[in-house]
């Protein structure tokens, strides 16, 4: 179990339960990939494929930041979460 802070931006909050932009959760996961699967199942209330088309990875066009760092620099789904990490999911799927 790891406690992390989640943020949903770029309009993703519209598909999150209670339309919330920020959550603090205790998730039974170890890696970022596992967290994405968990978020898809437990936090997204509708249009799940707007967040993640399949398990363990986000939809193309959704940015993932770990403590304000692009997840590509942290090993993407393999990143091992630390207590207190701030994970932001930001959609780029909107107009200019």
């Amino acid at each position: 179990m790891v406690q992390v802070k989640l943020e949903f931006g770029g309009g993703l909050d519209a598909i999150v339960a209670d339309r919330t932009k920020r959550l603090q959760v205790d998730a039974p996961v170890r890696t970022l990939g596992e967290l994405i699967t968990w978020v898809r199942r437990n936090c997204i209330r509708e249009k799940h494929d707007m967040f993640a088309v399949s398990e363990a990875t986000v939809r193309p066009g959704v940015l993932v930041l770990v403590n304000e760092v692009d997840w590509e620099l942290e090993g993407t789904t393999r990143y091992e979460l630390q207590p207190g990490d701030h994970v932001a999911f930001i959609s780029t799927l909107h107009g200019g």
């Binding site: 931006g9 309009g11 193309p60 940015l63 304000e68 590509e72 959609s91 909107h94 200019g96």
Partner: protein
């Protein structure tokens, strides 16, 4: 202290912003965005002394970033100069077309407040859809119709305010998506004469890298044309107040645009060069 991920530009900063070219630290990323914008503006002559500039702002990250970059450009390039010979000035108007499905009145108020906070004039118009027309269209055709209407409205407002330049926030990503959409809808390579002195300016299939088009009384500029949509989202996140207008995510799953976007993103994996290659190939077809 040695950074975990060293910035490939300065070598010493802690990189936070990923790109295929190399990861950048915050100051180098900011410089990259500003410099790319500045090069496009100066190369194409989009901003000149005495210009009356309209900036089209939808509330999305690219257009919000565009306005921010225009203001920073003015601050740095002209206001910052002390010599009287460099006391240049250009007048800036913020333009918005209110689309009911995209945040509507709330977005208008946020943008009006933003413009007023920067002492900029603001003009907006509400575009109402004719129900009988839209019910006969599928998702792709509706999006295309909206895009055309917004384009016409922006052009008319800019001309009504005697603007000489209209800046829009088309990124490389969006340009590539629209290119694929237009090809898919069979719109080919025709330039259309839509309004007085202005021809089709979204994405033409003639030539590459269409940054600016000069049409009679007005120049339509796309100074973000070499930047990715993700760069604009990341840039907006670093600048205070820019994320205020982003309240919606477009559901384009049942549209050609959504398919095109997913195709390019999955194929390009965020590589600007790949997206530019797609544009280049299609331009030659």
């Amino acid at each position: 202290m040695t950074p975990r991920h060293a910035c490939f530009k300065c070598g010493s900063g802690e990189a936070q912003f990923y790109s295929v070219a190399g990861a950048r630290c915050p100051p180098c990323f900011d410089a990259h965005v500003r410099d790319t914008f500045r090069r496009a503006v100066l190369r194409e002559g989009m901003l000149q002394h005495g210009a009356r500039v309209a900036v089209a702002v939808s509330g999305g990250p690219a257009s919000m970033a565009l306005l921010d970059l225009v203001l920073r450009f003015w601050e740095r390039e002209w206001r910052g100069r002390s010599s009287e010979s460099h006391q240049w000035h250009f007048w800036t108007l913020v333009l918005h077309v209110e689309v009911p499905s995209k945040g509507g009145a709330q977005t208008v108020e946020r943008l009006r407040d933003l413009a007023e906070g920067h002492n900029l004039p603001f003009a907006s118009v509400r575009q109402e859809p004719p129900p009988e027309l839209l019910h006969s269209m599928d998702g792709s055709e509706r999006r295309q119709w909206w895009r055309e209407q917004v384009r016409l409205q922006l052009t008319r407002m800019a001309l009504d305010h005697n603007c000489t330049v209209l800046l829009v926030g088309t990124t490389a990503t969006r340009a590539a998506v629209m290119t694929v959409v237009r090809m898919g809808m069979g719109e080919g390579c025709q330039a259309k004469e839509e309004t007085r002195m202005v021809t089709e300016w979204s994405v033409r299939l003639h030539g590459n890298q269409v940054h600016a088009e000069h049409h009679g009384n007005i120049t339509v500029g796309r100074p973000l044309r070499e930047l990715l949509q993700r760069d604009m989202v990341r840039y907006a996140r670093t600048r205070p107040g820019l994320e205020l207008g982003i309240t919606h995510m477009q559901d384009m799953r049942d549209t050609l645009e959504g398919l095109a976007e997913r195709f390019l993103l999955e194929m390009g994996q965020g590589r600007a060069a790949t997206i530019h290659s797609v544009l280049g190939v299609m331009d030659r077809m």
